[in-house]
Symmetry: D2
Subunit: 369 residues, 4 copies
């Protein structure tokens, strides 16, 4: 049996920080050690194994019970992470001095063999899972664990980190509510969500926002201004607008922001732009708060802790059962396994007819459409 | 069409308190008012309409936007609730002085007609939904919203209140962890769950408990004592045991507790009994903490707020679409409707082969079996 | 005796929002009602009584037990607040069309008399207390309750709202920590504190920040850059910098920001400027998060709830004892009363030799000096 | 100068667990290392140095930056603690087989000398500080840091752990509020406080309890029953009673509980007894919740984190300045030093005329007197 051969596995975490990474690492480690396997942690995505010269103290570290003790509730990742260092597209210099992106995945697979690592649990988003898929195609035994704060990964109803982000965004909007009301202001809150509006939608409904702008529904600020005036007439002299960073005006495009990020940040993101325009359209004092980085970190909620622990243990069970090239997915109430090729390169947008959108409209929340 | 006839609906909340009740009430109210319907709230289960003489100021109160403002995050229910006053089994005296339980549901249905209430949104657990089902069978248009802290209602993956209970239980166990470790104690934590061990299981795994005892898996305290000694040997001189109130020993029964509750509480519940026995078996200082009432109340988590708001709005949409005799259910990522007859009188136990149980075992957690 | 004459008092809240305002309002109301006094709430600072034409429904509202029920933990103020409408400097047009600031405090005192309000509990910051002092000098019986998120009011060790702001700032910095570490970034966090660095200091020490920049200690970013490099050498590849909004460079001035606030906000506040410069000086990826509005609102911490309730009740006791023209102050463990004239127009800066500054330095935290 | 001689210090933690211990340990360690001192941690009170044979791996461990990293917010103590092992009263067997308590403090002082430990930072309550005082009298350089959840240590306005305990107790009572109200129950909440009622008083006022029973004010349950009936008449059909574990009836005594703790716990503590009696007196459904162990552990609040860090650093500064035989104390806004002899053997009860008691009465809260 394939399974009987596993003696040593590795774990890595790639892409942005997300609450729950350490809980996954702990669960994978304990579940594997309890099977008598050895466990190694790869530093900073795959860099620890792919670019070992960067790590004089070792790019791969043994994970013991002691090392993963008490980390379930810690934000961040004890292994480090990175958005750089894609072995499928490694910047390489030609003899003529020009550069190209070289696929060095063969070397990575070889490195695993050399280190006698039988399998990899790859925790990451679309980018990291694409790499994991490529390594699996080349023969490395791989199980992926989905990671996305934005909840935009396909084939899993949700993954860890999202509940924490939505909860903290909701807590922040709650706080802004009382100030907005006391000062009779319009408050624009920009949350994460470049391609999908899940965080904005869920936190906006939970915190009783008045307007929610998401990438899936291009907005018209005239409609938003009308909503504000209508509220004014009914005696509500304040308005809370939640904006996903990828929201864009009708007929407009959000891509300028993405393309020239540095400049866009200086000019202010979509939240700042919406706030300025709303202040001009309504004459009301309008302020913008950008929650961005605050939503990535922090202690996972209990929900996210549990999903993380279940995902980590499920990944080890998958390896034991001889599975590879699959991703652990949440299909409540259960966990199941999805072929990696069905996951990568896709994006899970908010369906316009999903019950949360319908419920938001039932509650009188405007999407600016 | 039936739907066009709705002009006035009522809402009630029955059974125990649960975080999120007020959010459901708010969502139902706003979604109905936005359709031009009138909304009434029935006090204390169905008592407000069934036993009107108890309410000199009116057992049924109009619900306005103003009345439901800012209640999303409040624990409890602005309508009150009760475990007494079942119109299907109303204690009634015969002429000979003896008592019997009379089905007075016809009167209740008539009362709705008299008050020109076209439909009822009934928020409650198995008991309340059974009543709702009976009323629907007699012609009242009814949509149920499931309520159970214990998560033991069938046909919905989860409902509001459970995430809050699990989260708070986890926070409590986290707190006990540091004290147990500092003082090298065994700590037994009793949580709710008379028939199903969901709270114990989820909070136990999330908080890295060492032992979890649930009704679905009869326990053997010798096994638990062995686990404690094994941990001792490995240098962990403390142990956390989470016990569902309905957990029972192998070959034993938990029913004594249920039958004579007053007495059982004086003697101490299952937590107290487990603690005493463990102390005798291991000689280690063992303490018991009963979380019971702490898990019923409080501000709902963001997850529960959202489920509540979605359920409330979905109940109104169901009524608008002419649905009746159904319960709103969560089948993530969506909400759907289930015939009430498929829900009542059932119980959703923890499946012994569910991935959370498997994951708990993978992580080395003992179920005392 | 003066005291026996009190039959009706009023409460108002002025200046910015602060967590705990509603708890003070509740305590004043209950304590006064329990003495048989009537209680009125003035809307939006003093506007409700001073500019009654703005309030068709009444600028002064009766406060009953029912009205203040369950508001202890709510952010904001049920009375509304404002930074506009100073009766000491009311913009008034001369016959020649030019404008001047007229002292209309006599009218305000008359309005209290006309409404048979015997005394005022004025909750507010330096501006509101200055007005309260002026009214007291003209014969109105007044007790002030200090309000300042920034903790820069003199003669009270602390007041409500500050603990909440520091706690939330600390929670935010905790969250940024894990992301900063995982991504090896410099993170600049801008917190409130235009004139005094209390929030930055307390939240920075509590959250183990590496650098804290406050108005009291002009900073040199070269020193900060050195600190970052030194940390780098020791293996800490991330740095957290907490900046009070009023912090200023050595030899520089923060006043540009205050003077032309609109423009300054467009250019970015001090946090943005520090982040840009640090990125240039160190070459490290540096991000800025502005917590501003998030620190004003929200549910008060238990500490702030208690201070608020104690202050509200103490204000009523002061009125009962015939005191006037005083402010309630916290001199732990007790509450005492300070003449308003000793409070207004002053500012409580962080003393450079206070033990928190010394402790921060002991812990290796740099102030950029 | 004395000061120049310090090269190595030790830290210990004694008595019960308290949130903030680890933050003190971290601050002492970092502040000492930054002065070039070596730092050792003694395990389990003084046992690590006094009973070294119990610690095959060493009863004294070096504390490095790495070891104290990221522990500020962790509950418990990385050094362990104990209520056993008092070197002033060490159970010792005479030749005739009888036992007596021997003062072995000389040996302890010698052990410090042998290990070349120049000074001790002793973190603990009255018991631990009494030992610390004795060691100081015998020539060991000692600075004490006060630890008491109950806030009953004299000469410091407050210490770390108390704010966390009060905050969590308040959060728990908040949760019970909604359930009590929904179910129209009396809820009795027992909190810590054997000799002083600070936790009960502060959490009771903060959470709007209706009755607070503390050791300082003997109670009469008839008065409490009247309060409940009075509330009933006014339409409030629920009541929240907070009881300190040391509260006692008028003319009665709480000492039975203390003397025969094992038995008392089986019979139920004061909360259980009050609940039973109240149910009999009022006929209302009454439940009891015991918060005991939940208040000892957990993550410290920001307030407690800061106090802990300030205390730790202040202890090191004291040693540097040549101080000994003193305790660090909080005299807000500053930290100062108090001779240990002025602290030990005393108890800080709630003064009956303190403003919090007066405020509670102003707010209509009954003390059962």
């Amino acid at each position: 049996m394939k399974t009987s051969r596993i003696k040593r596995i590795a774990i890595n975490t790639g892409g942005g920080d997300a609450p729950g990474l350490n809980a996954v690492i702990r669960a994978v480690t304990i579940a594997a050690l309890n099977r008598g396997w050895e466990v190694l942690g790869i530093r900073d995505g795959l860099n620890g194994i792919f670019l070992p010269h960067l790590y004089p103290d070792g790019g791969v570290v043994p994970l013991t019970r002691e090392r993963v003790r008490g980390i379930t509730h810690l934000g961040g990742t004890i292994l480090g992470t990175t958005n750089k260092g894609n072995p499928l597209k490694h910047p390489t210099q030609r003899k003529d001095g020009t550069w190209y992106e070289k696929d060095r995945s063969d070397e990575v697979v070889r490195a695993f063999k050399t280190m006698k690592i039988d399998a990899l649990v790859a925790i990451g988003g679309d980018g990291s899972l694409t790499i994991a898929h490529a390594l699996a195609e080349k023969g490395l035994r791989v199980v992926g664990v989905p990671k996305t704060i934005d909840n935009d990964l396909d084939k899993t109803v949700v993954t860890f980190g999202f509940d924490t982000a939505v909860s903290f965004a909701t807590a922040c909007i709650d706080r802004l509510h009382s100030t907005a009301e006391s000062h009779q202001r319009v408050m624009v809150v920009e949350v994460m969500g470049r391609y999908a509006g899940w965080i904005a939608l869920n936190s906006g409904v939970s915190s009783s926002a008045d307007v929610i702008l998401i990438p899936e529904i291009p907005y018209d600020l005239q409609k938003v201004a009308e909503k504000i005036k209508e509220r004014e007439k009914e005696g509500s002299k304040f308005t809370i607008i939640v904006v996903a960073e990828g929201a864009k005006p009708k007929g407009g495009t959000a891509s300028v922001v993405s393309k020239e990020l540095g400049r866009a940040e200086r000019l202010g993101g979509v939240g700042e732009r919406v706030a300025n325009e709303i202040q001009q359209l309504t004459g009301k004092e309008t302020r913008c708060v950008v929650l961005g980085h605050l939503l990535r970190g922090g202690t996972p909620t209990t929900f996210d802790r549990l999903v993380s622990l279940r995902f980590g243990a499920a990944a080890v069970r998958a390896l034991e059962q001889g599975k590879s090239n699959v991703m652990v997915a949440l299909d409540p109430p259960t966990v199941r396994y999805v072929p990696l090729e069905q996951v990568t390169g896709r994006m899970k947008a908010v369906p316009l007819d999903c019950d949360t959108i319908l419920s938001a409209r039932d509650l009188g929340i405007s999407f600016g459409d």
